[in-house]
């Protein structure tokens, strides 16, 4: 059935629930290689998004735009403009395509442009780069999500706060990759969207 305003809202509410449940865990990951706020940042942002979407947007494009602007205004950390840009690009793309794979590909391009990170830099870009093709080819699974997140563990950070640690950033999962994992999990669990 593809993307509808209703399943986008469901997707976001599910993502928000996962963030809420894991906010301490995400912040703990960020404590190890950053400033310890990623879970709290995302929780603030996604709570505001759910709130915003409680009034149903008219179109998918409107929905993505509202998600983007809400995250940009409330998250506060690097993940704010990054997820914000992702959803802004999805909003733009949604005016010409309703294929979720195309939208997520546009989002990934936006994230890379916004943060300047490339695959291998130990950022959310790694998880998105691994999983967007899986969505496109309809092969996304829980296992692939988990292993994409886990794969950031052994990388040396080249972008974001963790990059100040150089080699010492090894051995810890990247917090933004973990939260991105939840986004893809929520997508996978949303009936009819893929």
């Amino acid at each position: 059935m593809g993307l509808t305003v209703k399943n986008v809202i469901e997707w976001m509410n599910n993502f928000s629930a996962k963030i809420e449940q894991n906010k301490q865990f995400l912040s703990d990951l960020d404590t190890a290689i950053g400033d310890g706020d990623h879970g709290f940042n995302m929780s603030r942002g996604m709570t505001a998004v759910s709130q915003k979407l409680s009034t149903e947007p008219k179109t998918i494009t409107d929905a993505f735009k509202q998600i983007a602007m809400t995250l940009i205004s409330t998250v506060g950390g690097a993940s704010g403009p990054l997820y914000g840009t992702a959803f802004l690009e999805m909003a733009k793309k949604s005016s010409t395509s309703s294929d979720i794979g195309d939208l997520l590909a546009a989002a990934l391009t936006g994230i890379k442009k916004r943060g300047g990170a490339e695959p291998g830099d130990k950022t959310m870009v790694d998880v998105w780069t691994a999983l967007v093709p899986e969505v496109k080819t309809n092969k996304l699974t829980q296992e692939k999500i988990a292993s994409a997140v886990e794969a950031t563990k052994d990388l040396v950070a080249k972008k974001g706060r963790a990059s100040y640690l150089g080699e010492r950033s090894k051995g810890h999962v990247d917090p933004g990759s973990q939260s991105s994992g939840y986004l893809f999990e929520a997508l996978l669990e949303t009936e009819g969207i893929l």
């Binding site: 940009i72 690097a78 704010g80």
Partner: protein
């Protein structure tokens, strides 16, 4: 064409303090600031940056920031404003101080940018 300065930091006090430091050597330069998140926690806010751009009395703005994540909000704000924004990856305090001094002295943008070059950092 007038030049102004916008300062962006994760901490409100850092930009109010820095603005005071620059004001001493650049009394006639419009300096606006965006510090902290919308809730005044540690972080940055695109909304505050946009407001700092719009409050700035100059036509063209030289923007300086502390840490990398501020840059992303700065770039977002730059895409959303109609003002001309120049964003520099340079030492935050030292770069902003240099720019303030030179704008006050009536130095042109290209020359200012030349003086900012040695202060460039990977941020």
């Amino acid at each position: 064409m007038s030049l102004g300065i916008t300062l962006v930091s994760h901490v409100p006090e850092i930009v109010t303090g820095l603005s005071e430091l620059l004001g001493q050597v650049a009394k006639d330069v419009s300096i606006t600031t965006a510090g902290g998140t919308n809730a005044d926690d540690l972080g940055t806010s695109m909304d505050k940056i946009l407001q700092a751009f719009s409050e700035n009395k100059a036509d063209e703005i030289l923007a300086f920031y502390d840490l990398g994540s501020a840059k992303m909000n700065l770039e977002l704000a730059t895409e959303m404003t109609s003002k001309k924004i120049h964003l520099y990856d340079v030492a935050f305090i030292e770069g902003a101080y240099t720019a303030a001094t030179l704008i006050e002295a009536g130095v042109e943008l290209t020359e200012i940018e030349g003086q900012l070059k040695p202060l460039a950092l990977k941020k």
